[in-house]
Each structure stands twice: as C-alpha cells, then as structure tokens.
C-alpha cells in the first residue's frame, strides 16, 4: 500500500497549552482512516495541522514524501488544491448560493469556461444528492443538506484526499447513516482517500478501515477495528464498550 500522508512527531500548542503531544501515523492511499476521541481531545486541531491551516510547534506532515510544513507558500497552495476539506460547521459562504459556493474554487483555480463550470457544478451537486438545490442559499438548507453541500464543495477540484470533520454531528441517525453511505460510494467511485473525524460508533463501524484514537494529545490506539479488543488502554476499552450497534438493534426489536 502506498503511503499518502505521513505525520511525524507532531507537537502543537494553543498558547501555552499543549494540544497534540508527539503524534505520529500514516494515511495510506485509498483507505478510510477514522480519527476518534472525546470532545476537546484535539481532533479538529490535528486535522487543521494536516492541511497546513495551523503550524505545529514541532514535527512534520508529508504528502507523497514532500514536507508540507516547510514548503514554499505557492507550492503548498498547489498541493492543497488536491485536498478537499469538509468543515465541522460546513464552512459554506453564506452570501453565495450553493452552486456559486461550488463554482468559486473552479472559477478561481480552474481556468474553465462558464459552461464547463456549470456542468461541473451540476455533477458535484448530484454526487451528493442535491441536484435541485443549487439555487438555494446556505441559510435555506437543513443541517444534513449543509454537510452534503460542504462535501460537494470539497469535491469541486477533484481532490485525491478528503478530510471530513464530524460529518454526522448534530444530525439524526437516518440522515447520518445516509451521509456515511454517501462517503462510502464516493470512495468506491472516485477512489478517494478519506480522513474522517467522528465519535459515532455506528459511523466508525460503517466507515473505518483503520482507526486512530486521541486522548490528552497522545495517540492511544492506531489500527484496524479487529485490533480493538486487544487494546489494554482503559480509555479505548471504555470508548468501544458503549452500546455497540448490534446490541442496540437487538434491544429495540
């Protein structure tokens, strides 16, 4: 398996407070890596460091062996164009319609003519099941639609890797499950690599090829779900021993 991203000995602070303490792992091409952890454990912070939005105190992040942290500004911008990010709260531009939100990166970076842009926008919208919603403003969308729209925009420039911050937070279980299915079909059809932050057990079991768990700035678990029972770390056991989905289904039927 080819390595796409390497995170090595990443240390990050907000002011004096240490948020990430010597975090190392790799992301392989084509896999879905799920990042877990309690609220405030630094998941979003890790994601922002992985895409160069924040600079670490120490350590490196490499894409295809290239050092993201010490890259020239232009080189980094070019690299990040191949990275899609769906932010925790959507990150949609409120003043633009959905179609214009998706068209924005295409207009700025693509050098495409307007008819091509419109066709691309229609394609991306229908990928996430929002074919009829292009003319709406973000404020007119429900929570689930906003998340989908965020994905459509993240997909605008055909990224090779998609980062996904809490896709199902604040959504009902049915919409959340729909979103998980969407993520899976995108991976299958576009061959995307995905890094997904979540703490929904259902999503974890549906999506994860591998999982990484953060606690107090350290990686306390890294591996496939099959390896979870072998972990002796109390936080890991505690996390996975919450009501597992199979038992929840059994209890209600």
């Amino acid at each position: 398996m080819t390595v796409l991203i390497e995170v090595e000995h990443l240390v990050a602070h907000y002011g004096e407070r240490c948020i990430l303490d010597d975090v190392s792992f790799t992301v392989h091409e084509g896999e879905i890596l799920v990042i877990l952890g309690a609220s405030g454990s630094g998941k979003s912070t890790l994601l922002k460091h992985m895409v160069g939005l924040l600079r670490p105190t120490a350590g490196t992040v490499r894409y295809h062996g290239q050092d993201l942290i010490h890259m020239e500004e232009e080189e980094r911008a070019a690299l990040l164009r191949r990275v899609g990010i769906s932010f925790q709260s959507g990150g949609l531009f409120n003043s633009l319609t959905l179609a214009d939100n998706i068209a924005l990166p295409l207009r700025e970076h693509g050098g495409f003519d307007e008819a091509t842009i419109q066709a691309l926008v229609r394609m991306k919208l229908s990928l996430v099941g929002l074919a009829d919603a292009g003319h709406l403003l973000p404020e007119e969308l429900s929570g689930g639609m906003k998340k989908r729209a965020g994905v459509a925009r993240a997909l605008a420039l055909d990224p090779e890797i998609l980062f996904f911050d809490e896709p199902s937070a604040g959504l009902d279980p049915i919409t959340a499950a729909g979103l998980d299915q969407m993520i899976l079909s995108l991976r299958r059809l576009l061959g995307l690599t995905l890094v997904v932050i979540t703490h929904e057990l259902t999503s974890i079991y549906t999506l994860a090829d591998r999982a990484l768990m953060l606690d107090q700035g350290k990686v306390i678990f890294l591996g496939s779900l099959a390896e979870v029972p072998r972990s002796t770390h109390p936080r890991v056991r505690q996390f996975f021993q919450r009501q597992p989905p199979a038992r929840a289904v059994a209890a209600t039927s």
Binding site: N94, S95, F112, A115, T116, Q118, A119, L120, R122, M123, S126, L127, A131, D132, G134, H135, L137, E139, D158, S185, R188, L189, L190
Partner: protein
Amino acid sequence: MAQLPHDPPVAPAAAQYVERVAPEACLRVRGELSSAAGAELYRAVQALLAERPSEVRLDLAAVPRMDSLGGAWLVRVADVLRQAGVPWRIVAASGQVQDFLQLIRPTLETPPPPPPRRPGFFETLGEAGFAALEEARDLVELAVDTIYWGILAPLGGRGLRWGTLIEELTAIGVRAVFIVVMMNLLMGLVIALLAAAQLRQFGAEIFVADLVGIAFARELAPMMTAIIVAARSGSAIAAELATMVVQEEIDALKSMGFNPAQFLVVPKFWAAVLALPALTLLAMFAGTLGGMELGVLVLGISPQAWLRQTLAAVTLGYVLHGLLKSVVFGATIVFVGCHNGLRVRGGAQGVGRATTRAVVMDVVLLIILDMCFALLYEFVG
C-alpha cells in the same frame, strides 16, 4: 472493433480522440476522456446534429479512464442532444468509465435547472413597494406594542424592570455624555467661525451669539445628539437583538411567555426617551459654550455680553421644540434598532447587515422627521 474498409472515418482531420463511424450516427472516442477529448466530442456531436440523425450513439469502448472534466463535457453533450430532441445512448463503457457514468447518470438525464427568473422593472418596483409597506407596518406594530407595555401596562399596575432600565440608561445616556459634549463644543466653534466671517462684514459680530444659540436649541443639538446615539446605541441595539434571534434567545423568551417588546424593547425605549433630551440639553450648552469660546477669543466679545445676547435670542419655545424633537428621535432610534434586530435573517452575516441597515435607516428617518418638525413649526407655530 477493427475499422472496416467500406466504413471510413469522416471526422475532421484534426480529430485526435473522436472518430465518426459511418453510416450510423456513432462517435467513437479513443483514449482518456478528459478535457481535450471531451471538447472534441462536443464539437463532433454538434457537427453530427446537422445531419439530423434519428439516434446518436457514443462508443466509449476504447476509453480506459475518464475524469470530472470529461464528465462535464458529457453533461454538455447530453444537454445539446436533449435540446435537439435526439435520443442517444452510450455503448460499451467498462471499468472505471462505467462506474463514473453511473455516478453522473442523474446529471446526464436531467435538464439543467432554469436560470433564476429576473423580475421586470415594474415587478421589482411593486415588490419593493409592498416590502416597504410591510416593513412600515411591522415598525408601527412594534411601536404600539412598546407603548402599550411601556406606558399603559405600568399605569395599570404592571411594573417596569427598573434594574434593566438603569443599565440601559447608563449604556445609552451616561456613556455618551463625553462624546456628545465634545462634538457639540467643536461644532459650536465651527458654526461661530462660519457665521463670524459673514456677519463681520456688517459689523454685526454680536449676532453670532444669536445664530449659534438658536441653531443649537432648534436644530443642531437634537440632530447631532441623535446621530451620535444612533451610531453608538442604535447599532448596538440592532446587533444585540439580531444575535439573540440567531441564537434562538428570542424564541426562548417567547416560549417562556414573555413578550419580546415588553422584555427587551421597553427598557431601551424608556432609557432613550429619557436620555436623549438630557443629552440634547447638554449639547445645547456645549454648543453655546463652543460658540462663546470663539466669540471671546477671536471676536473679543466679553462672556457676559455673549450670554446676555444668547439668553435674549433663545426663547423657551426653541428649547422645548428641540427637546420634544429629541424625545421623538430617541424613540425612533430604539424602534429602528429593535425592528432591524428582530427581523434578522441568516446567521452571523445577517447580524452585520441588520446593524448597518439600522444605522442607515436611523439617519434617513431622523432627517425626514427633522424636516416634518421644521414644517410643523413654520406653519402651525
């Protein structure tokens, strides 16, 4: 599929990726379907349509891969064919291409959404008119609500929220004292300077005192004060209420059985209605003082003479006119601020819009009201 001799490609010589398989209307694409191949396919389809074929086939057997740009061109091809009313299909796609086609099939099969309709001039005008009327109604409704809860209900024995009132008085009134005094002092100085240059030509410098005194009592003190309060507090009120709407605090209030007007608007209303005349009175003094400063320092008129002249010119009527106006201005600023805050739409960005809108509306309304007062004073007395 091998090319048969009696079946030569008739696509243009420049064709790199697309060949025409005659006599049927079939276009065969070779190589990766991306930007270049897609554009060529699009042109070939347009050329083909000139022959009015009964059906068009796109043969993608020799396409190993396609990407989003190729997909976008296919979408455009589908649009052209749909418009021409020619049925079409894709044959022999496989592997990644087939997967990709499946993914974008909904887009290929549905027409583009119609462009948003641009309303005509009169329609826009009519809509704007209705919107303005509706807004005026909302504003009046808010004012009526406030006056009921702020004046009639307390008379009927329902208390005011004194603690909040004092907080609001501090915010709207006390904290504005310094800036109101400073601005009016400077304004008085400037007006006196302007007037002196003119009146000096007639040796009538002492009348500068009359002019400054009357101007500040009737016009400048109420107006300057109101504009300062609109900028300071009108905007703050709009932002505060808009944030409360966005964070569902207003809904929470309503669900607890509170009337937002009673709970939020009334204290601000009373604070502004009390603070504005007080500030305006201060502004009148400050303006006069500013004028006097110039009179004493530049025109060489004694302070006593200046004061005597001012007191003789400025009647109680002028002062009351100014103070009454300031009461109306104060109420307007609160209504406009609250109204714009409460009608906010669309998250954080809406808060900014509501704030701007409140201040602009304040300034416009203040000037219109000021004009009404002036006319009323002239013709009714």
